[in-house]
Symmetry: C2
Subunit: 198 residues, 2 copies
C-alpha cells in the first residue's frame, strides 16, 4: 500500500522531483503515474500545481535556458575582442551547467517528440547559434586558427562541454571535482591546447 504524503509541494519543489524522474526514465517514458509515485502525492495533487507533465518539462528546461541565455547578457559576453567573449561564454557555460546540472542534463536529453520538447530544442539551437556567431567573429579577427573548420570546432567544443553532464558529479567521493578548475581546464584545453610546445 502506498501511503500518500501530505502535499506540501510548491511548483518549485515539485519540479525538483519531476526533473529527477525525467532524467532517470526519459521524458517520453515518464507518466503522471510515475511522477505521482516519486512525489508521494496523488495525481490530482500534482494537477493542483501544474497543468501536466508538459508544463513541468517547460519549466525545467526554461530554468536551464534562462541560465544559458543569461550568460549572453553579461558584460563579459560583449566586451573586448570576440575571442575574449568566446572564452568568457565557454567558461560561464561550464559554470551554469554545473550549477544547474539536472536541468541542463534534461535539456540536453530532450528528443523532440512533443511540442514542448521541440520548443526546447529550438531554443537550445538558438543558444548554440549565438556562440557559433561569436566563434565566427573571432575567426574573422584572425584569433582562431585558420586550419580548422570553425563549425566543426564549435560542435566539438559543445561536445566537450555537454559531455560533462555524463560524468561531472558535484558530490562525488573525495569532495567532488573542483568546479572552478574544471571551467578553467575546458577553456585552456579548447583555446590554448594541452601541448606545451611542438
Amino acid at each position: 500500500m502506498t501511503t500518500a504524503k501530505r502535499d506540501t509541494y510548491t511548483p518549485e519543489t515539485l519540479l525538483t522531483v519531476a526533473v529527477r524522474v525525467f532524467n532517470e526514465r526519459g521524458y517520453d517514458g515518464t507518466s503522471m503515474e510515475h511522477l505521482s509515485k516519486a512525489a508521494g502525492i496523488s495525481k490530482s495533487s500534482i494537477y493542483h500545481h501544474v497543468a501536466g507533465k508538459e508544463e513541468l518539462l517547460r519549466r525545467a528546461v526554461s530554468r536551464a535556458l534562462d541560465g544559458l541565455f543569461g550568460i549572453l547578457d553579461e558584460p563579459g559576453a560583449s566586451r573586448g575582442r570576440a575571442i575574449e567573449q568566446v572564452e568568457y561564454v565557454t567558461r560561464r557555460t561550464v559554470e551554469v551547467l554545473m550549477a544547474e546540472l539536472p536541468y541542463v542534463t534534461l535539456l540536453l536529453r530532450v528528443r523532440g517528440n512533443t511540442k514542448a520538447e521541440r520548443w526546447a530544442l529550438e531554443r537550445r539551437r538558438e543558444f548554440d547559434q549565438r556562440v557559433a556567431d561569436l566563434m565566427k567573429a573571432a575567426a574573422a579577427d584572425g584569433d582562431l586558427r585558420a586550419d580548422v573548420d570553425i563549425r566543426m570546432a564549435t560542435r566539438l567544443l559543445f561536445g566537450m562541454i555537454n559531455s560533462l553532464v555524463e560524468w561531472y558529479r558535484p558530490q562525488a567521493a573525495g569532495g567532488g571535482t573542483d568546479g572552478e578548475q574544471l571551467a578553467e581546464t575546458v577553456v585552456r584545453l579548447a583555446f590554448d591546447g594541452l601541448r606545451t610546445s611542438r
Copy 2:
C-alpha cells in the same frame, strides 16, 4: 499479418540489424520479439544463429573494442615521445569511431545492467586507462601543460571524442563531414588549441 522473410542471415548480417535496434530502443528495452520483427525472421531463426540477445551485444561491442584496442598495437601508439603517441591514438580513435559508428555508439551507451554490459564497461574503462597512462607519460615528459589536471583533461578529451556519436553522420546532407579533417580537427583543438596567439 507479418510475412516471415526467408532466413538468409549470417551471424554478421544479423548483428547489423541487432545493433540498429539496440541503438534505437536501448539494449535493456530490446526484446527478442523486437529483434525478430526488425529482422523479419522468427525468434527461433534468430536462436539458430546466436544464443540470445546477450551474445549479440557481446559480438557488437567486441567489434568496437577490437577496433579501439587494435589502435594500441599499431606502431604509432608506441613509437616516439608519449605526446606523439597520445596524438596518434586520439586521431585513430576518432577514425575508428567513424568507421564503426553504430558499434561504438552501442558501446558508449551500455549501462551495466547485465553481465555482458558490465564486461563491456570494464573493457571500455581499460581502454580509457591505457590512454590516460599515455597522457600521464606525456605530462611527465613535460609535453603537456602543467596548469591543467591531467585526469580532468583526459576525461574532457574523451568527452569531446565520444560526443561525435551524437552528431557525426557519414552520409549527412552535402556529402557528410570529411572524416579525415574531423580527426585532424580533434587533435589540433585538443593539443594545440583553437587560438592563434594570446
